[in-house]
């Protein structure tokens, strides 16, 4: 019995051990034989396939896959790569992409957030409406409110102190950016309004500052 082709099962499907000593043409014949033998056992199973023991070029890999599908009823869903280095690179780039997407992307919410309503967002968020007292926005990024902010905002909830909050009318009960929390003054009259003015809240030296939105402030933003 030749041992140039060995099939093993694993979590996702099968692993095919290939001998790297014999020439490829010979190996192909062995593969034909092996899969013909075991086609009854596998039936029409759909599975992922991994090649081990021999480095296959893209061309060779395709040939092997063709042989498998010709000589058995296995449906190969995908070929799992066992190359550690390549896996690392993929993993890294995917994680980076996800992080970037969460950071630079924003969502829109249209409508007034009312008492008792909570909006949680895994990105920055733009609210087209008011945030009333008792309502809360939680975002991993920035929060921009095209309306009055009278409720609670948590920006950069994952600890990102470079996040900011902008509102056309800034009257928050509580505001939190990264790990810094600020609350509104106690003695403020609750229904006497100051003139509405667009303001921005940001963190500097572990303090939250609220300032009128001006070009100078905008150019100082780093995010």
């Amino acid at each position: 019995m030749k041992n140039s082709v060995v099939i093993k099962g694993n979590k996702y499907g099968i692993m095919v051990m290939l001998d790297d000593k014999i020439p490829f043409e010979e190996l192909k014949e062995d593969i034909v034989e092996k899969f013909k033998e075991s086609s009854k056992f596998f039936g029409e199973a759909s599975m992922a396939i991994t090649f081990e023991g021999r480095k296959l070029s893209l061309e060779e890999e395709r040939e092997v896959l063709d042989i498998i599908s010709e000589n058995s009823d296995i449906k190969v869903v995908c070929v799992v790569d066992n190359d550690k280095k390549r896996e690392e690179v993929y993993k890294e780039s995917i994680e980076k992409k996800v992080a970037d997407a969460a950071y630079s992307n924003g969502q829109f919410y249209k409508g007034t957030l009312r008492n008792g309503q909570v909006l949680e967002c895994e990105s920055s968020v733009v609210i087209l409406g008011d945030v009333n007292p008792g309502a809360k926005i939680i975002s991993t990024g920035n929060v921009v409110i095209l309306g009055a902010l009278k409720g609670i905002v948590y920006a950069g909830i994952t600890g990102d102190a470079s996040s900011f909050v902008v509102a056309l009318e800034m009257n928050p009960v509580q505001i939190r950016i990264g790990d810094v929390i600020a609350r509104c003054a106690d003695n403020k009259s609750r229904f006497k309004k100051n003139k509405p003015e667009t303001k921005i809240a940001f963190v500097e030296d572990d303090n939250i500052y609220i300032e009128p939105l001006s070009k100078d402030v905008l150019s100082d933003l780093h995010f």
Binding site: G111, T112, L113, R114, N115, G116, N132, P133, G134, F191
Partner: protein, 264 residues
Amino acid sequence: MSEVIVVTSGKGGVGKTTTTANVGTGLAKLNKKVVLIDTDIGLRNLDLVLGLENRIVYNLVDVVEGNCRAKQAMIKDKRYSNLYLLPSAQTRDKSSVTPEQMLALIEELREEFDYIILDCPAGIEQGFQNAIVGADRALLVTTPEVSAIRDADRIIGLLEACETKKRCDLIVNRIRMDMVKKGEMMTIDDVQDILAIDLIGAVPDDENIVISTNQGEPLVGSDSLAGQAYMNICKRIIGEDVPLLDLSGKKGVFSKISGIFKKN
């Protein structure tokens, strides 16, 4: 085409029941066929405000449980023959009725009445859910106080989240113009600014309301400011365009002239 209106507020004691009684009576005065349903099971008041307590035989729970027919439980008002009251039960609690049962009852009553007005209990629990489930529109009653407005805001949020979108109009109750002028009370604009829904009427704080409530005689349509304000609300409900009442109460020439300018 009949309309189902729920009178709600979230907070207690802002005037839901008084508003229900007056709006219902006012619509009856305008020759509409009206039924008022008290959904505040266990804490019934609407019958008192209408002065119909002594006529109660069956109640809302009897109807949904099938102990009697809806016709038997409905009490005809002593002043208007086209106004009916379906009282709530006093010895049961809110869980005695399910939203499905309310819906079925309302569908049955729709056949016969122009307006079905539901007096909602305070809170946002089962009683509230029962009251709003079949409603086409809501009258949101609030007073110009931060606590009442905060609760009203929550109610609007809950009504907006309903599957069936309901039109929601605001009634600002118990306004005291003298305090507003001194800056000690929120103005109607301040309230509207926060709640951001259409205003259908503002009712002044009026001692006549207390008297009428205690006597069981709704004052809608009377000469008092509150009576006029409620009548205006009724007219707006049936689709008439009525200008907002001048609540300052002064009958001076100057205020009359300025009132004319405001209307334009």
